[in-house]
């Protein structure tokens, strides 16, 4: 786990929550100053001030206190709220998936914030993005592996048995590299397939 140049301990300490029906999110992540310095950026400060003027300091603190990275609304929606990115995932065939990425402009926010959102989309979600291209390669290699007769099972066991319940009816992976969110999606899929309508 050497991506982003972040040390393994950082990834292990990343929060990973799973909720019923296959939903999940990563949290406790982008407040880490080793990864993100933008929270003190003048543009973000201007946004915070505008939000406080509009909803009051208390509500603004509550809104901005929601600190999530990748969130998955199962089965087809993925968003990164802090960066105003939404992705819709449409499976077309067993080895073909269409991903549409949307960037959001926040009403009343500084214009520069939307330009930063687009710049972020180019680097992270763009077809030629240094991030996305590596992600796609990993998916394709996994699919390629599944076409071989080598293994009957896909292993989703990392962290199994160590997931922790919390007070919001969600479960938290004990470590940030737990596959709790994938097991959670599988459980939802099985439930949708087998539940009576």
């Amino acid at each position: 786990m050497l991506q982003n140049g972040a040390p393994p301990e950082l990834w292990e300490s990343t929060g990973l929550w799973a909720a019923p029906y296959g939903h999940s999110f990563m949290g406790d992540y982008h407040t880490d100053s080793r990864l993100v310095t933008a929270l003190d950026h003048p543009v973000f400060r201007e946004y915070r001030t505008a939000l406080e003027r509009r909803v009051g300091a208390e509500a603004a603190a509550r809104i901005l206190g929601v600190s999530r990275w990748n969130s998955i609304v199962y089965p087809s929606c993925s968003f990164m709220s802090q960066f105003r990115q939404l992705r819709i995932v449409q499976p077309l065939a067993v080895d073909r998936t269409l991903v549409s990425a949307y960037s959001f402009r926040l009403g009343g926010a500084p214009e520069q914030m939307f330009r930063d959102t687009v710049a972020f989309a180019n680097v992270v979600n763009g077809t030629g993005s240094p991030v996305l291209t590596d992600d796609l390669e990993v998916y394709e290699r996994a699919q390629h592996g599944l076409t071989t007769a080598r293994s009957d099972w896909v292993y989703l066991g990392r962290g199994h048995g160590s997931d922790l319940p919390d007070e919001h009816r969600t479960w938290r992976g004990k470590t940030g590299t737990s596959e709790i969110h994938i097991r959670n999606q599988l459980a939802a899929w099985v439930r949708y397939l087998t539940d009576e309508p």
Partner: protein, 155 residues
């Protein structure tokens, strides 16, 4: 600035790309250079609409380092390419910079898959003490608005 100098630079650029001489390729760009592959046809600007690629010089350096990295998944192995540059025209010259348009047909091959790319290219070339340098390169792919698999090659 004569046309042979412009032609020579574009041919040299293509040759460097096709031979993975990427540090030298990067050396053709000015420090304030922009490398842009728009998403929309006739896209006017890169800040309110996403692009396939929009790199300033720093991001372009990261892209080159990633292409050379021994463990960057989508670039192991790096795509092999053949760039065919034709229809070169100098369409503007303000004394400091020239605007040059050309057509690009590029074959990309990687891991048993061959793709053909076609694009209209616009270079902004700056006269410097070291000769002509690329201040901006824009590549409008004919299929930029299509559903595309990841792009790890360099146009």
């Amino acid at each position: 600035m004569s046309r042979p100098d412009v032609d020579q630079l574009l041919v040299r650029e293509a040759w460097l790309l096709d031979h993975q001489r990427l540090d030298e390729w990067l050396g053709l760009f000015t420090d304030d250079a922009v490398y842009w592959v728009p998403l929309q046809m006739d896209q006017a600007e890169p800040f309110t609409t996403a692009s396939l690629i929009y790199d300033d010089r720093r991001l372009l350096e990261i892209r080159v380092r990633q292409t050379q990295h021994p463990r960057a998944h989508a670039r192991v192995p790096a795509p092999r390419t053949v760039h065919q540059v034709t229809n070169v025209q100098v369409v503007a010259d303000d004394g400091r910079e020239l605007t040059v348009t050309s057509s690009l047909v590029m074959i990309e091959y990687r891991k048993e898959r061959q793709r053909v790319w076609g694009g209209l290219v616009e270079h902004r070339l700056r006269r410097t003490d070291a000769g002509l340098r690329i201040a901006a390169k824009r590549v409008d792919l004919v299929n930029s608005e299509s559903e595309l698999c990841g792009i790890a090659c360099l146009f």
